[in-house]
Amino acid sequence: MFPVDWQFHVAPYIQTFIKWLIVAWGPFFEGLSSLVLGVLLQIEAFLKWVPWWGWVTIVVILSWKLSHSLFKSILPGLLIMTIGMFGLWEVAMETLGIVIVAVLISLLVGIPTGIGMAVSERFNAIIMPLLDAMQTMPSLVYLIPALMLFGLGKVPGVIATVIYAVPPVIRLTNLGIRQVSRDVQEAAVVFGASRWQLMKEVRFPLAMPTIMAGINQTTMMALSMVVIASMIGAGGLGEEVLKATNRIDVGKGFEAGWAIVVLAIVIDRISQAAAQKWEPPKR
């Protein structure tokens, strides 16, 4: 047995720190909270305002534009109709709303962070281990600080989702910018590009396909986190899964799970096809 006398806990210190945060930064978190909630409710209202057939049409048209294949555009339309058939349309829109807001915040935070890491070795050295830690930590752990800072509800759900989903877009922005060909950069510099012009005209646009892959991954992770976030009252499809699990209702659980998978497939396909548009023309 490990000697009992040697026991030392950091848990109380972390508790104290979070409590201090709540007191000292209370107004800040409240302001942030109401801002996020405001945006979220607007987006949710819009998602629900568009009728179901409106979304089906949009998905079919988008898929057609991106794939030019009848099968690949009809199928996603049929798939999202199954969500409505299971009576999960409204809840699915709630989930989608949280995902959209979480992804938007992730991009707002993640892309500048990734750019910063690409231009500063020191910043890179600070953030890299943080990202590693964030990605090895079980996702449930993120619920606790989000819960303590923002209470129960949708906003802590969004925040936990952001923490979980932001690493890929940071990593791939960083990687994409670092991978830009030396030859092209050298040519831009010799014609008189300033650091800012080099980033704006060359490094960022050439990194765009990689950044889009990061955005795609971030979106997928946000979608998977939304289920977990429902444990702190984020609502949406995750809550349906949770309820079904508690009642050991396999059938209902399957329906809600199916709806999440459908959302994931449709968003993934459309965003991947959209990412292709950023590749420079080949032939």
Partner: protein, 309 residues
């Protein structure tokens, strides 16, 4: 600013570029210390190089791969910071400029063409050619107009809206040359611009460059590893070996009087080629083989491109 036309456009004095230097200053006179540093992995890529290039002159730097040609030419617009020495272009001391001055200097005084083109893959031919003007802040209509003119000059009209990946190597380098011409800077730097091209295309590009040079009278520093190219293009040339200029002169002088064995090795092939026309080597197969179609002569780039459409 008064510019003395008779003064050389480019003056390089005692230039050194040392990679992997531990301490910032070193004494080029101390031979022993240099030898010791070399053993510890320090690379002396350019050693004590001095030369001048007059206005309107084509100066060729020739040497084997790894002899320091690229390092030297990259020091001129300070893509690399020289370890020691003075570079003066158009009366301005490049070695002493700060970051801001350097950016302005690069925008107006030099242009460069690279072996690997360095074109922007997400921009079409027109935008690539106009890129330098965009960096200067020239308004769109004006810069695109100038870019169109340069595209005509290099024989690429009709290709404005194509992307680099859609062009052949020779055509890409024409874009590279147009991008440099549109700058209207006096000094044009070219680092093995034609080395990656097929022999026939290379020949054709050399002709294009000579023709352009007759119109625009640039001052050109041209790097190559090929003596034939050097002789064809250069008014004067230098032979470089392990970071040192071993000989400078007109191509004719160097072919006639190579200063040492290294230069001699470069020159001997060339001299044979020029003095005694090679006997045609024709191979008569003993057995009758199926008649092979004659190799097709490659059409000039724009034509070939037209075929691909």
């Amino acid at each position: 600013m008064d510019i003395d036309i008779k003064k050389p456009l480019l003056e390089v004095q005692g230039l050194w570029k040392v990679f992997g230097l531990k301490q910032p200053d070193f004494d080029p006179q101390d031979e022993e210390a240099l030898a010791r540093m070399k053993d510890s992995g320090v690379v002396f890529a350019v050693r004590d190089v001095s030369f001048e290039v007059k206005r309107g002159e084509v100066f060729v730097i020739m040497g084997l791969s790894g002899s320091g040609k690229s390092t030297l030419i990259r020091c001129l617009p300070r893509l690399l910071k020289p370890t020691l020495g003075q570079i003066s272009i158009n009366g301005q001391s490049v070695s002493d400029m700060d970051e801001k001055e350097l950016i302005q200097f690069r925008r107006h005084e030099t242009a460069m063409v690279f072996q690997h083109y360095g074109l922007l893959p997400h921009r079409n031919v027109l935008e690539n050619v106009a890129f330098g003007l965009k960096l200067r802040g020239v308004p769109p209509s004006e810069r695109l107009e100038q870019a169109r003119e340069a595209i005509v000059q290099v024989g690429l009209e009709g290709w404005e809206n194509h992307y680099p990946a859609q062009l052949s190597g020779g055509m890409r380098q024409r874009v590279g040359i147009a991008r440099a011409l549109v700058q209207e800077s006096d000094l044009l730097l070219m680092d093995e611009p034609f080395s990656g091209l097929d022999p026939l295309i290379r020949r054709e590009m050399q002709e294009t460059l000579l023709q352009l040079q007759r119109e625009v009278h640039k001052t050109i520093v041209f790097v190559t590893h090929d003596l034939t190219e050097a002789a064809r293009l250069g008014d004067r040339m230098a032979v470089m070996r392990e970071g040192v200029f071993v000989q400078q002169g007109t191509p004719q002088e160097i072919i006639d009087n190579p200063s040492d064995e290294y230069v001699e090795r470069f020159v001997s092939d060339e001299r044979q080629f020029y003095k005694s026309p090679r006997k045609p080597v024709i191979y008569f197969p003993k057995k009758k083989r199926q008649a092979r179609p004659l190799p097709r002569v490659t059409a000039p780039a724009p034509l070939m491109a037209a075929e691909r459409r």
